[in-house]
Symmetry: C2
Subunit: 198 residues, 2 copies
DNA sequence: ACCATAATCAACATAGCGTTGGAAAACAAC
DNA sequence: GTTGTTTTCCAACGCTATGTTGATTATGGT
């Protein structure tokens, strides 16, 4: 790990700029956010901004990549000790909940930005390697099914965060696993019964 | 129907502006598209643009609303004569395929724009009224399930258009119905068998 | 042919962009 | 602390797109 020590000033500048952008993106579309405004909020000189980023999109892109990286290392660490998919999902949801503001912004910003696509890639890499084997169906159809499931899941998580995380993490994880996997499950009836009674 | 006859000049102007924007949006994110550029492509004076729209987003918004309106009337017409959901879906896919360029742009532009949300609202209104009854579960969970299904379906359609509509409309309709409905189907095995052999 | 309406054109002030060079401040190392 | 380096700040620059205006030309409907 080539951990170069970064000048405190640089770290501070980058941090406040990221904070400012996330703050602004809660209310405005990124296209409506000017570099000038970001710098005003962050109380950073505009030329300093340009010393680090090209524009607001570049800044967002860096935030996304850093978040993806964080998720990746987080997941890798947890996966080393053999936990259930349910537990893993719960950990992830907790992580998302703790960074709700950030995740809402990133998940909402689907077009152009690579965040959702990266998450999709990540999930595929982790949990869906066996799908093709289980199905033994056309690769393209598998692609469709995966895309369907992951996109739907992310949207559900987004709504969950949006509405203020009303349901418990455990509950959401259950629901997602059901929605995500029930096509490979032979029996889903017991869970459906639970939902009906809920 | 208060069908006011519109000056040919106005219709022409609006049409070429819409065309130009869709054209540009195939390659650029809307935030990177200037009013000036749109007018250049459309060969329309910039002040004429401002006589009709506020900015590029306003123009896009109008395109979206018009498309939603078209879909709505289209669906309403077809629904009056009792057709199966499969047939309906096929008709819709055909419609999307014929306007592939437009639909790809609109589906891809999720954030900010209301298009996907409107489609979601429309689908709910049409086909999912009975979901709640069938499930008899918490309204919020029903919301999640619907959101999951519709979002996933739209993304699948988007990919299908993106990749050049390799699969037949009938095939895609089958797949979507499976993904969309299989939680209420008692037996999906016969279809899964079909996929495995495919 | 007439008049209303729409599109064009030129011009304007404004605002944000992206860059620059030099002064001031904060940093790390000694 | 002193020193040398790095980063930020500041003021200014030209540039481009914006949004608006008023006058002129062209086109539409009847």
């Amino acid at each position: 790990m080539a951990k170069k020590k970064i000048d405190r000033r640089v770290r501070y500048t980058k941090d406040v700029l990221k904070e400012a952008l996330i703050l602004l993106m809660a209310d405005n579309h990124i296209s409506k956010i000017s570099v000038k405004k970001i710098c005003e909020i962050a109380d950073v000189n505009r030329s300093t901004f340009y010393a680090h980023y090209e524009n607001q999109y570049d800044l967002l892109s860096h935030i996304e990549r850093q978040t993806i990286q964080d998720i990746h290392t987080f997941v890798a660490k947890e996966r080393s000790r053999q936990i259930t998919l349910h537990t893993m999902l719960c950990l992830f949801l907790e992580y998302a909940a703790q960074n709700a503001k950030l995740f809402r912004v990133l998940l909402n910003e689907r077009s152009d930005s690579a965040f959702s696509d990266e998450v999709i890639r990540l999930v595929k890499e982790l949990a869906l390697v066996e799908t093709h084997l289980e199905f033994k169906t056309k690769p393209r159809v598998v692609e469709y099914i995966q895309l369907f499931s992951i996109t739907g899941s992310l949207r559900v998580i987004e709504k969950w965060l949006e509405d203020g995380m009303i349901e418990s993490i455990d509950e959401v994880a259950d629901l997602l696993l059901l929605l995500f996997n029930h096509r490979v499950l032979k029996e889903e009836t017991h869970y459906l019964r639970g939902l009906r009674d809920g």
